[in-house]
């Protein structure tokens, strides 16, 4: 463990604290960021071994639960922005993990689905992933985990109503 922080013999007379704000490390965004990072740190090595990033894994998981989906719907499911999804789909398609075909009824839409290879890859990752999740649940406690998720959902709902800028998302 790195202990250091012996603090060099710098001057004293602290001229900081010039702008009054809450303690930085206790801000909600930081807490959420740190918690999420702590969780993802558990999964990333395993995903990496299988050549997948976190986002690619999200997409495959989303696709594995359905027949096929339009890009926009997939973006909503995997919580990715359109441009990110567009790039990732291009790569996943090149790796033959997904398949795309334009809808006949509407040439603008493309239906995305997971390929046989994609399913195979998922099957090889899922056990480890589930085991890690189980370990997290065991460490933190199943009950507390459920409570936490409930609170996170509430937070989301309580802020969703006044969502940042354009809140004209129809169809839900």
């Amino acid at each position: 463990m790195t202990k250091k922080t012996a603090d060099p013999a710098n001057g004293s007379a602290p001229a900081a604290r010039q702008v009054p704000m809450r303690d930085f490390s206790r801000s909600l965004p930081m807490s959420l960021l740190r918690a999420r990072e702590a969780v993802m740190r558990q999964f990333r090595p395993s995903l990496r071994e299988h050549g997948l990033t976190e986002q690619q894994w999200r997409i495959l998981r989303a696709l594995a639960s359905i027949e096929a989906a339009e890009v926009t719907e997939l973006a909503r499911m995997a919580f990715l922005l359109g441009p990110s999804l567009s790039r990732i789909l291009r790569d996943l398609e090149a790796r033959n993990l997904i398949e795309r075909k334009t809808a006949k009824a509407d040439q603008r839409r493309s239906m995305v689905s997971i390929s046989k290879e994609g399913v195979k890859l998922m099957a090889s990752v899922a056990p480890t992933s589930e085991a890690i999740y189980a370990e997290i649940t065991r460490r933190f406690g199943a009950r507390k985990l459920a409570e936490l998720q409930e609170m996170l959902g509430e937070l989301e709902r309580s802020l969703g109503e006044l969502g940042g800028a354009d809140e004209t998302i129809a169809g839900e």
Copy 2:
């Protein structure tokens, strides 16, 4: 091509549900991601108006609370990886929002501090930022907010002990 499911809109739809996993939308990483995004969506427009990104703001906030810090310490405070911080500091320095000078005792280290201009910028952003935070607190509830942060901290601690980075987690 043998089709496994009837789909009126398009021809052959690959089968789904081939790999059993938890409901995707209920995974902890997704809950944390969505909650954080809901929160950050409130702040981003204001930061943007002041020409700051979320990470730049984190750095300025961290610097405003102290005299000066080494890059590594600052990275820990602002929860940024070294390379990200390195780039951002370069930009913030070019904009004269921070100042750097190499430590006399150890030429490898550079001490970073916020500049007068940086303080001025912070002072212009802080009120709005605090107001947004207050509104979030009001909507979600101060008590629940404290509870949530407590749980997030617990989660972090319960996972931190087996922190996957250099902690011999290879065979998990």
